[in-house]
Amino acid sequence: MKLFPSLPLAEWVEALVDWLTNADLLFEAIEMLISFILTALQTVMEVVPIPVFIIGIPLLTFFFAGRKIGLTIFVFLGLFLIDNLGFWEDMLIMLSLVLAATIISVVVGIPLGIWMSKSNTVEMIMKPILDFMQTLPQFVYLIPAVAFFGIGMEPGVIASVIFGMPPTIRLTNLGIREVSTEVIEAADAFGSTPSQKLYKVQLPMARTTIMAGVNQTIMLSLSMVVIASMIGADGLGDIVYAAVGRNDVGSGFEAGIAIVIVAIILDRLTSGFQLKQKKK
């Protein structure tokens, strides 16, 4: 027999979620915005002919990621392989999910990070929330996401944002706080207003750190694609999920490889961008 009755935590959360569904209008607006972003991204990417993609992305990698011949060839072969396996369409859908999640994470996360860096109180409150967002098993996000947004791509994006945004917030905060006091003093001593200080000194100084955060966000969003497919998100993740369901090792591996290729390309491209900033 238990000494204390167990707390009805599950009921509380359910009650909260129930209550939140009342704010239907807000969620509908968010859903519309996300689906607009998704459609826009997909349309843009589908307009580009596949050969242009397969040749253009390696070139981009070459010039942005430190002129590495090997990497460039890898990117070319990787993209070629994805097309060859017939995953191109799915890859674009997955990419639009990842990019949409990244865009939202950056747009929301960087200002939050800036706010956090300006105030110790905000930092104190945000830190445990961020820890919570990152350590809660990813699957748990799916439940409220479905509750608020139904199934499909949009809740997938939402779940990816929640899981992927913390690094951007954290590293924006860190990057700004890391700027040496003397440089900040210099900005102040010459009579900068707070916004001049932010835009002319703090953000440029923190840029590489912030980019590292964005890179992490992209990677985390990518890691969400298979999970998001459980609530109806299409794309490569869905193929993997379906393969798991059918115990189909072959096609699961194919799609898995395709995801890895995309992950490597995105990682090298964004971290290459970081490097370039540093050198400059």
Binding site: S180, V183, D188, A189
Partner: protein, 405 residues
């Protein structure tokens, strides 16, 4: 004219700093206050005036509150109490906007580790202050290039700070401060991060620049040699309080207490003292109205073997030796101008003693200290030595006054 007047400026670090103020009024020490309240006294009731166009050095060991003090002046650190008057405006009570204007126009700061923006080119670093003020691109560029020229960095406009040496980076820092054309320069340990040779060059250059630009400079340093070299007046701080304010010579010769004395002990005096401080009242003869017998008589009285010959207006002619004078007397001649030797060691009033030493070691006669060609004093080896050992220096002008009268 007083440019900055600081009155009872106090900074206490910690929560509820007011608690420490009443204790400070009771003249409790920094340590006692820390024990009683847990608060750290950064600056303790500092009061001083800085005159327009002077180099005012604030010196102290690390932890003495000197860097805090300079930041209280432009309010990078908010004062706990006290006032800073710039002309007649109290900076300590200014609102943000007025304060920004003062920072933009009246005061610029140079930092110990340069505080340059690594992602901006040299020129764009120098332009920063002007950019903040909202000046147009052309005017900015023009002023930045002028400032860079002033510090001898033409041709480096498009480089990045990392690509320059420490000395050059600090020149950029100086140029950035000068580009705003401020009346006041705050220099926080500006040369301390540089190696000794470069530091000396920078000190000289600052002094050269100061000759023409005549800014009011408040210079923070922990290095007494540096303070003595560039300061018109020096303030010594300890535990946040001002221990002594005075000219370099006053501080050296008349240390206010043991603390200052300890500081001053190791200083290389030969670099601080000038010929003026170690010279003695000269014996002299005037060949225009005095003959060899008078000269010999005067030498006998003071027990010397040579004497300087001067005109009535004290213009230095040269030196005569006793042996040659007695020869003239034996020959019955009344005029000794022919035996005056003109190749005498001459130094100026402001020649540093270190240079004087080189001159007199090679010479058998005392060195003549001249000003506009007129004899003001002589330097013999023993007086140099006693000055270097920390005794007997002529601080006042009395000796040179009496010799010229």
């Amino acid at each position: 004219m007083t440019k900055i007047r600081v009155e009872d400026l106090t900074k206490v670090f910690g929560k509820k700093p007011q608690r420490a103020l009443s204790l400070l009024k009771e003249n409790k020490t920094k340590g006692e206050i820390l024990e009683a309240t847990g608060l750290t006294v950064g600056v303790n009731k500092a009061s001083f005036d800085v005159n327009e166009g002077e180099v005012f050095v604030i010196m102290g060991l690390s932890g003495s509150g000197k860097s805090t003090l300079v930041r209280l002046l432009n309010r990078l650190i908010e004062p706990t109490s006290g006032a800073v008057y710039l002309d007649d405006k109290n900076l300590a009570e200014m609102d943000e906007k007025t304060l920004r204007t003062v920072r933009r126009r009246d005061m610029s700061m140079v930092f110990q580790n340069f505080g340059l923006f690594p992602f901006r080119s040299i020129q764009s670093n120098v332009e920063f202050g002007l950019e903040i003020q909202g000046l147009g691109r052309e005017e900015r560029t023009q002023k930045a290039i002028e400032a860079l020229k002033l510090v001898g960095l033409e041709g480096y406009e498009n480089m990045l700070p990392d690509e320059l040496s420490g000395g050059m980076q600090q020149r950029v820092g100086l140029a950035r401060a000068l580009a705003n054309d401020p009346e006041i320069l705050l220099m926080d340990e500006a040369f301390s991060a540089l190696d000794p040779l470069i530091r000396k060059d920078m000190q000289d250059e600052l002094l050269d620049l100061q000759q023409t630009m005549k800014r009011t400079i408040i210079f923070i340093t922990h290095d007494l040699d540096e303070a003595l070299r560039i300061g018109d007046r020096i303030t010594i701080m300890k535990d946040g309080a001002i221990v002594q304010i005075g000219t370099p010579e006053e501080i050296l010769t008349n240390p206010a207490n043991n603390y200052v004395e300890k500081f001053v002990e190791d200083v290389d005096r030969s670099k601080v003292y000038t010929a003026q401080n170690v010279m003695a009242r000269p014996e002299s003869v005037q060949p225009e109205r005095e003959g060899p017998r008078v000269a010999l008589q005067r030498m006998r009285q003071s027990g010397i073997s040579s004497i300087y010959a001067i005109r009535r207006d004290r213009e230095l002619l040269g030196i005569v030796h006793a042996s040659e004078l007695s020869k003239l007397v034996d020959e019955g001649k009344d005029d000794f101008s022919e035996v005056i030797r003109t190749d005498v060691p001459r130094v100026e009033l402001h020649t540093p003693v270190s240079e004087v030493i080189d001159i007199i070691t090679d010479s058998s006669v005392p060195a003549a200290v001249v000003q506009d060609g007129k004899l003001r004093g002589i330097i013999i080896r023993s007086s140099v030595l006693s000055a270097l050992s920390g005794k007997e220096v002529n601080l006042d002008e009395t000796i040179s006054e009496s010799t010229s009268s």
